[in-house]
Amino acid sequence: MKELSVAEFGRRLAHLLVSLFILLCVTFVIGRVLPTDPVGAIVGELADPAAYAAMRARLGLDLPIYQQFFLYLNGLAHGDFGTAVLTGNPVSSDLAQAFPATFELATLAVIISTFVGVPLGLVAALFRDSFIDKIARVVALVGHSIPVFWFGIVGLVIFYAGLNWVGGPGRIDVFYEGLVEPRTGLLLIDSLLQGETEIFWNALGHIILPAIILAYAAMAYITRMTRSFTLEQLSQDYVIAARAKGVSPFGTIWHHVLPNIAVQLITILAISYGGLLEGAVVTEIVFSWPGIGQYMTNALMIGDMNAIVAGTIIVGFIFMLLNFLADVAYAVFDPRMREAAR
């Protein structure tokens, strides 16, 4: 089964690359037909047309689109995503800054929503139609039904301005800025690696509120799906067989149902994670979080194509990668699929 998987692995990897390439083409074309004008943003409102044209030529925007595309591909082949208009930095270095911020936030959020949402879904399914079930559903749904920016501001009012339990917007208090050297780009990890516990706690204070708010929004989906997967399993004969064997209700859920829904859960967690990673634009704005969502929104606002294309590629890649990993998880965790993986 190992050697079969390798071939399959290669095939899917090829698919992934083809998809990425198409994604690249589509993004590129969309980017170039947008009416937003990066040149105007750079040269400023008052620049005269000659300066404007010169800058346009410098950005290569006067070339026909296919030439621009080949130039871009050529750059890509050398690992060069181009320069961001917005910052003047290579896009890759910008993304190297923005992505970890989002990654840190999304990861924490997905962890929180998993550890709350999955048990909630299990309990709701186990006590189906009971009071607990209804509460769990409503609590989850409310998270799914309120705009995040609204929640964000209310959260800040209560927990930051009012109770002073959490840090304010941003990844860290400003006067700690620049004290930890970015190695992974993840502040929580970098600060621990460098023994800066004070900074760690500060960073945690800042990330916790946006993470919880994102997690709450994602939780509805996770809870609902966990509940429905569990219900589906609970009606299966093997669950009755397990109970007939003397396994307790908890043991049934833990030892029998959970392994059966693990793969499905992984898939929906991957979807949620992908959704969070693709940039919780609105949350990032509310919390002044310098992540990829904000970066791309700003890039879009000024028509900064290099940044948009690269950002989309990264996000698309992550998304596809997560899907790919979820599929691999299928093959690894589900014995039936292990066999079937041709």
Binding site: D37, G40, L46, G88, G168, V174, M301, G303
Partner: protein
């Protein structure tokens, strides 16, 4: 709370795209750059010219001779006349929007080497072009675009003949009180004190400008003491600090305006009666009270009321009857529809909504199209709009400084493609007013000039402007009581070297 020796400013950095003084003109960038670089001369908040890098200067008929004081760049290199010449040449040769200020009065990349010369290491001579007086030139030299950069440092980073622009966008090479430690776009800017600043190290070890796009969040941070100075707050958030202990509000006049640009190429808007009807169809007072608040003051002449020679606003107030009458005189009794483009930002979007509502009473149906900055700017530059709400600022605190952009359009033809000209974009053809403006700027006699100023404003009103100033623009900021010595500058060139913070009570 913020540390004693660091100043934290909350604002929106969304528009900051470059920190190269010879490139960037955007307000927030100017505010930062004015602390990274020194100019030959500086202006005070009330419009007096002060020496900065120049110790003194002598004015004659042909030009100005500056004597530099002994100073060093943050890099340690001495500031010499060579750097001054280099900086001005760099400005005009890079030829970005920043150069417009000097180009408008006859300096350009071809004549700069002739007109700006180093006499010796400490002396610089700038010859007057034929379109400017010495006094007005001095004002133009106070702007950040003429900042003196470290030519040695900059040249060492030049690639592809770009005058080091790629590097300068994100780094500093100046002699100002602060140096740029870090700029993370849309996140923060960190300025470190320049310990060797010529008048001594600034009081603040570090200044942090933090991007806080949400006004309410910024307000919370201010209340909690996590920022010391907040700008870009909404009117209603500002209002809450009015009576609050421990906070002070500074309402800094900019000399600029919120403007309603009308495209005179439009079949309706080409008619001055229609333009006047629109001028009568806006509820200036109501908007000032509920929307603009501290941000604006109703004013329909493009010169702030408190400037010398300013004339009072004409009788343009919300007057539905009069407006309707003007429309029917123009032959549009049944009204018509227009689009109104604006950046999706407060207060401009709210302004648009209010204008939409009041013009509806007159019979003009407005369709609002909001967009992001570059989209709207591009449309403006391409004359692709009916109505549009831009904003202006004054580069010097006098009639010309604020009005020039409203009253000068040398060639209105489409082919001229003079997109850098504010009036051209509205396709408003005003040859007389343009000539009058040119005459005023060359008039050396202050008294006569003042008369010309008044004449300009009257003519502006008579012509029923296609660039209708609506509100004088202010930049209100809130400071915590801890901040001392912060004096807001009308051109956003607020210097921070003398700002101190007192112990929290």
């Amino acid at each position: 709370a913020t540390p004693q020796d660091q100043l934290v400013i909350g604002t929106s950095l969304a528009q900051v795209l470059s920190l190269d003084p010879q490139q960037a003109t955007e307000g927030k960038a100017v505010e930062i750059m004015s602390n990274l670089y020194d100019r030959l001369v500086a202006s005070t908040a009330d419009g007096k010219i002060l020496p900065q890098l120049a110790e003194s200067w002598k004015v004659d008929d042909k030009g100005i001779t500056f004597t530099l004081r002994k100073a060093n760049f943050a890099s340690g290199n001495p500031v010499t006349s060579k750097d001054v010449v280099y900086s001005l040449a760099r400005l005009l040769k890079m030829d970005q929007a920043a150069a417009a200020n000097l180009k408008r009065v006859g300096y350009d990349k071809n004549n700069v080497d002739k007109l700006v010369k180093a006499v010796d290491d400490q002396t610089v001579r700038i010859d007057l072009s034929d379109q400017v007086t010495a006094e007005l030139l001095l004002y133009r030299l106070t702007t950040t675009t003429t900042s003196v950069v470290d030519s040695v440092e900059v040249e060492s980073h030049a690639v592809d003949n770009d005058y080091g622009n790629a590097w300068m966008r994100t780094h500093s090479a100046g002699s100002g009180p602060f140096t740029l430690n870090r700029w993370s776009p849309n996140e923060l800017v960190i300025l470190d004190a320049n310990k060797n600043y010529m008048t001594g190290a600034p009081k603040m070890k570090r200044v942090i400008v933090r991007h806080v796009p949400e006004s309410q969040v910024e307000r919370l941070m201010l209340e909690r003491g996590d920022i010391d100075i907040a700008s870009a707050l909404t009117a209603s958030d500002l209002a809450t600090f009015q009576a609050k202990q421990g906070f002070a509000i500074q309402r800094i006049p900019t000399g600029g305006f919120y403007v309603l640009s009308m495209n005179a190429g439009n079949q309706y808007l080409s008619n001055p009666k229609v333009r006047e009807a629109i001028a009568y169809g806006i509820d200036y007072k109501g908007i000032e009270k509920t929307i603009m608040g501290p941000y604006g003051r109703a004013r329909t002449v493009p010169v702030p009321e408190n400037f010398e020679y300013a004339i009072p606003s004409p009788d343009w107030q919300l007057n539905v009857e009069k407006s309707k009458q003007l429309l029917s005189e123009a032959g549009f009794k049944d009204g018509f529809s227009l689009t109104l483009k604006t950046i999706a930002q407060t207060p401009r979007i709210d302004l648009a909504t209010a204008i939409q509502a009041s013009l509806a009473q007159v019979g003009i149906k407005i369709d609002i199209q909001q967009g992001n900055g570059s989209e709207i700017i591009a449309a403006h530059r391409a004359r692709d709009f009916d109505l549009l709400i831009p904003q202006t600022s004054a580069y010097m605190p006098n009639v010309l400084g604020s009005m020039e952009q409203f009253s000068s359009n040398p060639d209105n033809s489409k082919e001229a493609n003079n997109a850098g000209n504010f009036v051209w974009r509205s396709a408003w053809d005003i040859p007389e007013l343009t000539a009058l403006t040119a005459k005023a700027s060359m008039e050396p006699d202050a008294k006569k000039r003042g008369e010309l100023y008044v004449q300009m404003q009257k003519m502006f009103v008579e012509q029923k402007p296609a660039v209708l100033p609506m509100f004088e623009r202010f930049e209100p900021i809130v400071l915590t009581g801890r901040v001392q010595g912060y004096v807001g500058h009308p051109s956003q060139m607020t210097r921070l070297e003398n700002v101190t913070k007192v112990e929290t009570q």
